[in-house]
């Protein structure tokens, strides 16, 4: 696809942002990072799956509108 966003890149970016936020807050003494990570890391998989499904849906809509390219 030309000009489409790479889902994996978005996922890696979001993971880094989340990790950085958590780490920053734990360094500032607001929360404990590791218990939160141990519980909530599968949320990354959930978000990734949702983004993949969203990419699939938008691609299908786009293709059916433009009348079956490929």
């Amino acid at each position: 696809m030309n000009g489409s966003i790479k889902v994996e890149g978005v996922v890696v970016g979001l993971c880094l942002v989340a990790l950085g936020t958590l780490w920053l807050l734990s360094n500032l003494g607001r929360l404990e990072m590791f218990p939160i990570l141990r519980t909530w890391w599968p949320l990354a998989l959930v978000v990734w799956g949702l983004l993949e499904l969203g990419a699939f849906a938008t691609r299908r809509i786009f293709e059916s509108r433009s009348g079956g390219r490929r």
């Binding site: 994996e8 890696v12 599968p42 949320l43 949702l50 079956g68």
Partner: protein, 182 residues
């Protein structure tokens, strides 16, 4: 450097010839570097620009170690070196393949178009199950005895895919290319 260049402008010294003819064209990836980076599974794949593959290798590796430690040493411990060395070989080969494509020796890679929602649904389901388990609403430990079912599922996937690929090949051979499946 720029001032030296400005001073030398008046002189008739010719510019140094471009080295392009002597050197081979610059390759996008170094297979050796990919191999070395993959000593940590997944890192070489990230260098190659294949994040999905990188995550798959990393989680397979971690999963095998976890399985060997927590569930059963025999199959999972045996799988660790397999995953690890396959990861190394894949990093090297992918980098070499990217180089070969850059040189034009091979057709460009087919764009990884998502053909079915199965990949996203798998990720979503796996994430939800693990999350519920972590939150204490599911008890996956009770399922540990049933791990060989994963082998059965893997075998089923291989069988299904080989059958589908054969059917698709037959179909594309028999009729035109503008076939839509839905």
């Amino acid at each position: 450097m720029s001032t030296v260049h400005d001073d030398a402008r008046g002189a008739t010294a010719p510019a140094p010839p471009p080295m392009m003819s002597a050197l081979p064209p610059r390759l996008p990836k170094s297979p050796g570097l990919a191999l070395v980076l993959s000593v940590f599974p997944g890192l070489g794949q990230i260098y190659n620009g294949q994040p999905a593959k990188a995550l798959t290798f990393f989680f397979s590796w971690v999963g095998c170690i976890y399985g060997a430690a927590e569930i059963s040493g025999l199959p999972f411990g045996l799988l660790i070196p397999f995953v690890y060395f396959y990861n190394l070989v894949d990093a090297y080969r992918s980098a070499a393949l990217i180089n070969a494509r850059a040189l034009g020796g091979l057709p460009p890679e087919e764009e990884d178009v998502v053909e079915s929602p199965a990949w996203g649904a798998t990720l979503l389901g796996l994430g939800l199950v693990l999350l519920l388990n972590n939150l204490g609403w599911l008890r996956l430990e009770a399922l540990e005895r049933y791990w060989p079912a994963m082998l059965i599922v893997a075998g089923g996937i291989f069988l299904y895919r080989s059958v589908v690929r054969k059917k698709a090949a037959e179909k594309s051979a028999s009729d035109g290319s503008d076939e839509r499946l839905y």
